[in-house]
């Protein structure tokens, strides 16, 4: 089966005065469709940098980055925005919901960018909210929602345009362990039932090994381990 994400000698350097910060320094790996990959590593190891490159939020200094056989490293800003809209859904540690919009509006916003007509997108957003168990919170603003609820809205938003890939950057970083499990269960369901390919950044090795099929470990911008998780996914808490 052809890889859905293919990374080859990917580098992202930040020139800082006279020195260069090598946030990502020659990373190569591939992700198959339907895989749940955990990105592990200490703080500053380059996890977010890698995820942002796959998301098309950032462009690499050098190397190859292919999604669905499309070269992201050669895309224009306009093409990258299309990639973000169609291919990937992003979930952040700090949720990043728009504070002045209700849960439903936060989801319809993503559908607006895709040009979906109003009635249709409101219906669709309501369905997505139901899927994450938040039908009764549709009219609430983020400030009126708990962390776990906010993260569920943000998952619903990431799913809005039915992307094949979900990218999550420490999605449970701001949540207690019980809520974290609920969120990861939702991601696991999406992976299993809808076949979403998931790349999740975490520095919690226990959670990573429990949910991910495979763990890629980064250190100082390089891959130090890339192997199948031994613990069965969804194991006992």
């Amino acid at each position: 089966m052809a890889a859905i994400i293919e990374v080859q000698d990917l580098k992202r350097h930040y020139p800082m005065g006279h020195t260069v910060v090598r946030a990502l320094d020659g990373v190569s790996f591939a992700v198959q469709p339907g895989e749940f990959v955990g990105l592990l590593g200490t703080s500053g190891s380059g996890k977010s940098t890698l995820l942002n490159l796959i998301a098309g939020l950032d462009t690499p200094t050098s190397g190859r980055l292919k999604i669905f056989d499309q070269n992201l490293d050669q895309m224009s800003r306009e093409q990258l925005s299309l990639h973000r809209r169609k291919n990937v859904g992003i979930i952040f540690q700090s949720f990043n919901l728009i504070a002045t919009m209700t849960a439903l509006e936060n989801i319809t916003l993503a559908l607006m960018f895709a040009g979906m007509p109003r009635v249709e997108r409101e219906q669709h957003a309501a369905n997505l909210l139901r899927a994450v168990g938040l039908s009764d919170r549709a009219a609430h603003r983020p400030s009126e929602l708990s962390g776990g609820e906010q993260q569920r809205v943000s998952i619903a938003r990431a799913m809005a345009n039915s992307p094949a890939i979900l990218l999550a950057d420490e999605p449970t970083g701001n949540l207690d362990s019980k809520t974290a499990k609920e969120i990861l269960d939702i991601l696991e369901t999406l992976n299993r039932q809808e076949g979403k390919t998931i790349v999740m950044v975490t520095h919690d090795a226990v959670l990573a090994t429990r949910y991910a099929h495979r763990i890629i470990q980064l250190s100082d911008g390089q891959i130090v381990a890339n192997g199948t998780s031994h613990e069965p996914a969804g194991g006992t808490a």
Binding site: D58, E78, N96, L97, A110, F113, R118
Partner: protein, 454 residues
Amino acid sequence: MIFSDVTRLAVRNLREAKLRTTLTSLGVAIGIASLVGMVSLGVGLQELTVGQFKKSGIFDSITVFPENRAFRRGGPMRMGRRAAENKAPEPSKPPEPLDDKAVQKLSALPNVREVYPNLRLPVEVKYENFSEFASALGIPLSSRGEGVFQKITYGSFFNNDTDDACLLSMDFARNMTSEDPKNLIGKTLSLGYASAMDIAGALANLPMGGMNVQRVEKKFTILGIIEREPGPNFGGGLFSSVMIPLKKAEDAGATDFTNPQALLQGLSNKKSYMMITVRVRRMQDTEDVEKKIKDLGFNAFSINDALQGAKKAFLILDVLLGLIGSIALAVASLGIVNTMVMSILERTREIGVMKAIGGSDWDIRKIFFVEASLIGLVGGVVGVVLGWSVDKIIGFAANFYVTRQGGTPAQMFFTPWWLVLGGIGFSILVSFLAGSYPANRAARIDPIKALRHD
């Protein structure tokens, strides 16, 4: 993203910052109000002036003068001077005299309806104890209902050119009597004038060379009194203190005594006129006929010339007033830039989120452009209403003052529909342009940095 959604988001954003939006729009409104107010003043003054032209003159008439150097140095018609300078006379050729032959030549031109000389007769007007020298002007009967004769204040226009009837100007009528000038209608006054007749050598010792100047006194019935509004008077604007039918002036054997050239030519037994009026069939013929008259070697002037000149002058005035009015708008547009940049700083993270969930640079740019344009639209509409209201108030106050000082009220401000639409359109345009810097800045925001922003 479809346009209605862009607008929806823009409206949302503006609503989120109500106070800021209101203040910024108000700034734009004041800018547009000052612009519309100023241009309304320019347009109002222009309308007033053009209105005066229309009242005082006849648009299908051309005044013809002899091509004359003395005239060029500043004749009685200042506006005519420019027309004369356009075509310098050839020094070798003597100027074409404005005589009966000239009348025939002018009558023969295509599209000419009527040609008549402008005869002014110095007269002594006597009425009861009143006596004053004035100039009596010969009026062709075809002038009925035209120019100043559109409105005869008291009485009526000449019925025919056989009756000894006259029209008076209101000023002159007021001088004649201490009563209401209205009562003069139907009364009789006497005009004393010198009639120049050639009597071959019979009375050689009389003054003025070979001419026999004979004093004649004749009774005329006062048929009408005309109040003329102040304003320019030229072109076909026939008006004088005393007006008699043209035929009567001709019968009086009147040589134009105000024309020294005519006096000289009188010596050689040839009558010539100071001015001849040519009436064309349709107004649009004026220019063409005027050119033909000039080609004949005369000097010609029409109210159209003056009107075109005045319109040009007013265009400059409008632009100047517009520029002054735009100063406030320029300041307001800086306000838009400021507001939008502030809003971008506040919403940086939001812009980052929008990009992360699929918003393109153009989507972001459009949102900010529409926000700026909406400020322009609201500011424009409010500004036009505001400018119009302020004009009304100033106009009302000014007229109140003018009326109390005994003047006639006039509409100084005029806001035509094109100014209303133009004002709103300009407001949107300026706001759009002011929004272009913030919009581009927002569009170029790096989503990663923006997402890290608090």
